[in-house]
């Protein structure tokens, strides 16, 4: 892993996620793509386990830090947990085709979202009023957008994202 490139990429994506993604949000529903979720799936499916675990927790930390006022921790734990599970699954079954990458983003997004809501609830904080759009809308939008971003991400991180016929 090229860690300097990873840190730079994470900083840029975190800032984009904090303010810029509102431009492409679905009007009326406040559904916007989660770029950090896409990043999580990218690192979990393209790097070896130790690097992917560290990257998952750091991405979770970035996801927590941009939501000022909310309690920190739920995203660190859920991104770390599901990123690690995804990378473990990737050892058994390579996720290379676009539709499987898309499915991985969707499933990871939904599971991480449910876990974040659960941890937030257990911490005694109010969960979102439009929880269904956050749990399903955001992962769905990210799943549609995600695979298209894997190529530029791979170029930036200097890795080959070769698509084989294998699942």
């Amino acid at each position: 892993m090229r860690w300097l490139r990873f840190v730079l990429l994470l900083l840029i994506v975190t800032m984009l996620q904090a303010d810029m993604v509102d431009i492409i949000a679905v009007p009326g529903f406040n559904i916007k793509p989660d770029l950090l979720l896409i990043l999580l799936v990218f690192f979990a499916t393209n790097y070896d386990m130790s690097e992917a675990i560290i990257a998952s927790f750091i991405i979770g930390f970035a996801a927590d830090i941009i939501v000022v006022g909310s309690s920190m921790g739920p995203r660190i734990i859920s991104f770390g947990l599901f990123g690690s599970l995804l990378t473990q699954m990737h050892q058994v079954m390579a996720i290379r085709k676009m539709r499987y990458q898309s499915l991985a983003v969707l499933v990871t997004g939904i599971l991480a979202g449910v876990f974040v809501s659960l941890l937030t609830f257990l911490k005694g904080q109010s969960t979102s009023a439009n929880i269904y759009s956050e749990l399903f809308g955001i992962p769905l939008y990210s799943a549609i957008l995600g695979p298209f971003l894997f190529l530029p991400l791979g170029w930036w991180m200097r890795i080959k994202t070769k698509r084989s016929s294998r699942v």
Partner: protein, 268 residues
């Protein structure tokens, strides 16, 4: 042997990182919020630049509906000038009759202009991060003005940045009164750019379009100021003797990029 050791290391790494996550989760919020404030402060410039880009992209679509023509603008300016003159006349008469000098609302108060660095407008959170903090005299509970109306109150203060809880945040509760009625009411945010007023008896006359004002609060606000307008008013489903009132803010919270904090008793 080496393979087993690597696997153990990976497991240990995961366990330690997960444990760190739980420690951060259970740590006091005051402590963890410092990280969030630090991020907002360090990256203030790119964040506010990103917000401006977003706002200008939105403005391109809404420019035709949000702009009044020059004639209408002049009419409003003339109306404002007449109202100010009438108010000054009334003030003079009142001072003559009472023999006392009467203070204007917000006279002596300091308005601290602030830039909005970041805005969070999800269903569960409607908050802003502004670029002024305790060093500029800001304190928790102070009211924040945007487009000449109350938009929220300061809920957390750092040295050089603060967090504003908007009136639409589900955790925001402020004392208000509705145009027609003098009864004290509590308005609670609902998310989705609106707020609710409940526990109001149907004895009070309330209609759509009525102005809702934040009431005076000693040390924070010395005159009632507009917060929104009644957009829906119907009898409560559970208790037909009470109103279920929905209030819409009179300003576009999402496109706000400058505001002002009211400091009633400035130290200087």
């Amino acid at each position: 042997m080496a393979r087993k050791q690597t696997r153990t290391t990976k497991r240990m790494l995961f366990t330690w990182l997960l444990l760190t996550g739980f420690i951060i989760l259970l740590a006091p919020e005051k402590l963890t919020n410092r990280f969030q404030f630090a991020f907002a402060r360090i990256f203030q410039w790119p964040l506010s630049m990103g917000r401006n880009v977003t706002l200008s992209a939105r403005a391109r679509y809404s420019i035709e509906t949000n702009v009044v023509n020059r004639r209408e603008y002049n009419q409003l300016q003339n109306h404002l000038a007449n109202v100010i003159e009438q108010r000054d006349e009334a003030q003079k008469k009142l001072e003559k009759t009472a023999g006392l000098r009467i203070r204007y609302p917000l006279e002596g108060a300091k308005l601290v202009p602030v830039d909005v660095s970041t805005a969070f407008m999800s269903g569960s959170q409607c908050e802003l991060i502004i670029n002024r903090g305790g060093d500029d005299g800001l304190a928790e509970g102070q009211f924040v003005l945007g487009d000449n109306g109350i938009i929220g109150t300061i809920c957390r203060v750092d040295r050089r940045s603060s967090q504003v809880k908007l009136i639409t945040d589900p955790e925001s509760k402020i004392a208000v009164k509705i145009e027609q009625s003098d009864a004290g009411m509590v308005m609670q945010g609902k998310g989705n750019n609106s707020a609710k007023i409940r526990l109001v008896s149907t004895k009070h006359k309330v209609k759509i379009g009525d102005i809702v004002r934040a009431v005076q609060k000693p040390g924070f606000l010395d005159s009632a100021m507009i917060v929104g307008k009644v957009s829906r008013c119907q009898k409560d489903d559970e208790n037909p003797l009470l109103w279920d009132i929905t209030v819409d803010p009179v300003f576009d919270l999402e496109s706000l990029n400058i505001a002002a904090v009211i400091i009633m008793n400035p130290q200087e």
